[in-house]
């Protein structure tokens, strides 16, 4: 089955959900009612299919993934819901705005972004004569979703092979993201080569190797301390000659403030484009716990290797990942994928509406 198709109807991805304890939550999701469709056999999560018309702003949204996004977040945020309950009990006043700002700042959106967002909201609220705090919050959510959504989240497949490069600071989950994504691609019937471009961290290649085993992808690695560009280049050449359509290249975590390491990345990017393949995606992996530094990360990384998207990991924790709003606002780099756990299937496509909902939950 074509990947593109699969993503649309989401069946292939639905099945592994069964193992996840999250499944239990599903029943409580209001969406569950409408659905009676096919993936049901595996799990009630499939439910979302029925709500297809809702997906207007984001048609390509894989339905099952969306459900899991919501449910996972619901689990994570259970304790925090009702945060804005106090807002609702009064009329809209100065304190309301302050509380909204607090909520955005606490979600790591940053003071600047919060001010920008709220200024716009103020204008709209004034125009629409909104006096009910609940309506105001709803308006804010839809404004955020509008802001973040409507982007093409499809990962590029041009080139033979297509090369997806994963970059980011240390410890954000690059290797794990590759592992999960490789599993997804392999399951959809695609052959994948993983390039162990992190030749710096001890045992990084072993870690990627274990993911290769789990996912059924092939691993190409060099010696520890080898030149990462050449390892990745070799992997691309290998994939080209073996007719493998996709190479996912891991890179060492690097702090964006280290010029020599960023130069190294620029070289990796250059060299990866020189081979038979084509660099179709450069994905910056950002940890949801990241604070205001995330914007600096995105700025510097895209200077060295032009970013095509962001993968926001660890969103299943209590951190809300609001920094991606600043990244998208300022640099116009969309969030494409979201990591929601350690399991093989815990990587889902980004959903702006759900994200906005969770941000203010």
């Amino acid at each position: 089955m074509l990947r593109r198709r699969r993503k649309r109807n989401g069946q292939a991805i639905a099945e592994p959900e069964t193992e996840l304890p999250v499944g239990s939550e599903v029943g409580s999701a209001p969406v569950g009612e409408q659905n009676e469709s096919e993936p049901e056999a595996e799990l009630p999560v499939g439910s979302e299919v029925g709500s297809a018309p809702v997906g207007e702003q984001n048609e390509s949204e894989p339905e099952t993934e969306r459900a899991s996004f919501r449910n996972r977040l619901a689990t994570a945020r259970g304790t925090f819901s009702g945060f804005l309950a106090s807002v609702a009990s009064r009329g809209v006043d100065e304190a309301t705005w302050e509380e909204l700002e607090d909520a955005l700042v606490l979600a790591d959106a940053g003071v600047g972004t919060a001010a920008y967002v709220l200024d716009r909201l103020k204008e709209r609220a004034k125009a629409d004569k909104i006096t009910d705090p609940e309506a105001l919050v709803a308006m804010l959510k839809s404004q955020l979703a509008e802001n973040l959504g409507g982007r093409d989240l499809e990962l590029g497949t041009d080139g033979s092979p297509a090369v997806w490069l994963f970059v980011g600071v240390n410890g954000v989950g690059k290797t794990t993201t590759i592992g999960k994504l490789a599993a997804r691609e392999v399951r959809s019937g695609r052959k994948v080569v993983l390039a162990a471009g992190d030749t710096f961290r001890a045992a990084a290649a072993e870690q990627l190797g274990m993911w290769a085993d789990r996912s059924g992808a092939e691993l190409i690695r060099g010696a520890e301390g080898a030149d990462p560009s050449s390892v990745i280049y070799d992997a691309i050449e290998h994939a080209a000659s073996a007719g493998v359509p996709l190479v996912m290249a891991d890179t060492a975590g690097r702090l964006h403030s280290r010029t020599n390491l960023m130069d190294e990345l620029a070289k990796i990017y250059r060299v990866a484009g020189k081979g038979p393949g084509r660099v179709a995606e450069v994905l910056l992996v950002i940890d949801a716990t990241t604070g205001q530094n995330g914007l600096a990360q995105a700025r510097r990384f895209t200077e060295s290797a032009e970013l095509t998207g962001v993968v926001l990991t660890k969103l299943d924790g209590s951190a809300k990942g609001g920094i991606v709003m600043a990244v998208q606002n300022e640099l116009d780099i969309p969030v494409k994928l979201v990591g929601l756990g350690e399991g093989l299937d815990d990587l889902v496509e980004f959903d702006a509406a759900e994200f906005a909902e969770a941000l203010l939950a």
Binding site: V169, F200, A202, A203, Q292, K314, E342
Partner: protein
């Protein structure tokens, strides 16, 4: 790490000092700016509020407007509250009568537990201890592999077994005791604070090995959530402190401030780079000074003292005073400097380092280049660089794998340093005591020519616009102190 924050404070104070008199509302204005600076630095919103309230309260209580020097008074309050918020005490590790000392590390995924377990073990080794590493992260693929590789690199044995984390940890500690190891550092899997099952597991690991110290490993880049995370871990594990990692980035480390304030446990160690030995005890009071633009001279001096022999320093100082500073000495100093750690870190500790200098890109590789160039010179050339003409320059460039222009640049910088050093030799050092001034000079001796900066973002050596008549620290390129140290004492 704290440098961008310190730049902000510097700007705020500068404007404040420019006011001369303090009017109604000025304090609020300053507090608003401080709030912004702190939030941008990822200090927790609630912590910022508390900080603001305390400073405001004190300003009102002290009737700042009537004070002799109201501006200085406000700065003093901000400084004191910042130090109080950061937490004053540096952690002192004591060891139990019956070894081993058991240390447990916990934290979120990717915060740097495994790397810092090895760094901590290496730190203990430096303290003359006999550490052992225990890998209880059986979750992340190849985590134990990583720990073994690191253990081999630092010569510390690693224990792990593919049973379950609790059994592995327990067995590890027993193994350490049996083999006469006196410190055990136990690495655990990364976990989310809201993952009840995993939190319970780490609680059971803790119960099983009864650690003397439990550290939460926190990434300096963490945002607002750091506090919630620390609270959750503290509830289960009773933390003793935080190991703050990735401090070498440009994150402003507000997480450090916040955890202390909310959980009541200070940052105990910080990891300042990717190399194993880039790891040190954290001195909250010094960091507070650093944020306020006062530098961290103490750490700098300590680092220098670790590296320099007293006699050597005397000799070099004497040479300096006579203005006989040759390329040979220069090279020697470069090498000494390298032993002290990364240049970027060192510059951050300099009092009054200009924002430009602090943000300058200083790569350690550049020292290697300088070394190569000087090593490609003949002894005559090193003694008298002025004899280096075009053809000599060609040869040196070829020999060192650099370009002739780079050789010229180094020579220019060197003569700049030489000139500056002569000036310093005749100038006055800071402080009155002989010992103190010697130390000050020692600190300054190790400053490279303007830090071998790259690009034009940096003020040239000696290029700071020093204000005349202000007490200065005699550091090359750093004349423009943000404010004099004496004013706060």
């Amino acid at each position: 790490m704290f440098d961008t924050l310190s730049n902000r404070f510097e700007g705020i104070f500068k404007r404040l000092r420019g006011l001369g008199t303090l009017r109604e509302g000025d304090v609020d204005e300053v507090l608003r700016e401080i709030r912004l600076a702190l939030l941008d630095a990822d200090v927790n919103l609630h912590v910022v509020r508390g900080f603001q309230d305390r400073v405001r309260e004190r300003c009102v209580g002290a009737e700042v407007h009537k004070a002799l020097d109201p501006v200085q008074q406000v700065i003093k309050f901000v400084h004191e509250e910042l130090v109080a918020t950061l937490g004053g005490e540096t952690l002192e590790i004591s060891h139990p009568a019956k070894p081993p000392t058991v240390v447990l590390l916990a934290g979120l995924q990717g915060s740097g537990k495994t790397t810092n377990a090895a760094k901590l073990a290496s730190w203990f080794k430096q303290q003359g201890r006999n550490p052992m590493l225990v890998g209880a992260d059986l979750q992340r693929p190849a985590a134990v592999e990583q720990l073994r590789t690191l253990g081999a690199a630092i010569g510390v044995p690693v224990f792990s077994e593919p049973s379950d984390p609790i059994a592995a940890a327990k067995r590890g500690v027993a193994e350490a005791a049996a083999s006469g190891r006196d410190v055990v550092v136990c690495d655990t899997a990364g976990r989310l604070a809201i993952d009840d099952e995993m939190m319970e597991q780490v609680g059971r690991i803790s119960d099983a090995i009864e650690p003397h110290y439990t550290f939460l490993v926190v990434d300096a880049m963490t945002g607002q959530d750091a506090v919630a995370t620390a609270q959750s871990f503290h509830a289960v594990l009773e933390l003793d402190g935080v190991i703050l990692t990735k401090v070498d980035g440009d994150a402003r480390g507000g997480a450090a401030l916040s955890v202390k304030e909310v959980v009541g446990r200070p940052v105990a160690f910080s990891s300042t780079g990717e190399k194993i030995d880039e790891f040190e005890l954290f001195h909250p009071d010094r960091v507070a000074s650093r944020i306020l633009g006062m530098g961290d001279v103490l750490t700098l001096i300590e680092k220098a003292e670790q590296v320099y022999e007293e006699a050597e320093a005397e000799a070099a100082a004497a040479k300096l005073l006579e203005g006989e500073f040759t390329l040979e000495d220069f090279l020697e100093q470069m090498r000494q400097l390298k032993k002290m750690g990364s240049l970027q870190n060192l510059v951050g500790m300099l009092p009054g380092a200009t924002p430009e200098l602090r943000e300058a890109e200083i790569e350690d590789e550049q020292i290697a280049q300088v070394e190569a160039i000087i090593c490609s010179m003949t002894p005559q050339e090193r003694a008298a660089p002025r004899i280096i003409d075009g053809s000599r320059r060609q040869r040196i460039a070829a020999g060192s794998g650099t370009r002739p222009s780079e050789v010229s640049q180094l020579l220019r910088q060197f003569s700049e340093v030489q000139r500056m050093m002569k000036r310093m030799g005749g100038g006055k050092g800071p402080g009155a005591g002989r010992k103190k001034s010697k130390k000050g000079r020692r600190g300054s001796r190790v400053t490279p020519p303007g830090g071998r900066q790259r690009g034009s973002r940096v003020t040239p050596p000696g290029g700071g616009q020093g204000k005349p008549g202000k007490p200065k620290l005699a550091l090359p390129g750093l004349e423009d102190g943000p404010f004099d140290l004496s004013s706060l004492r």
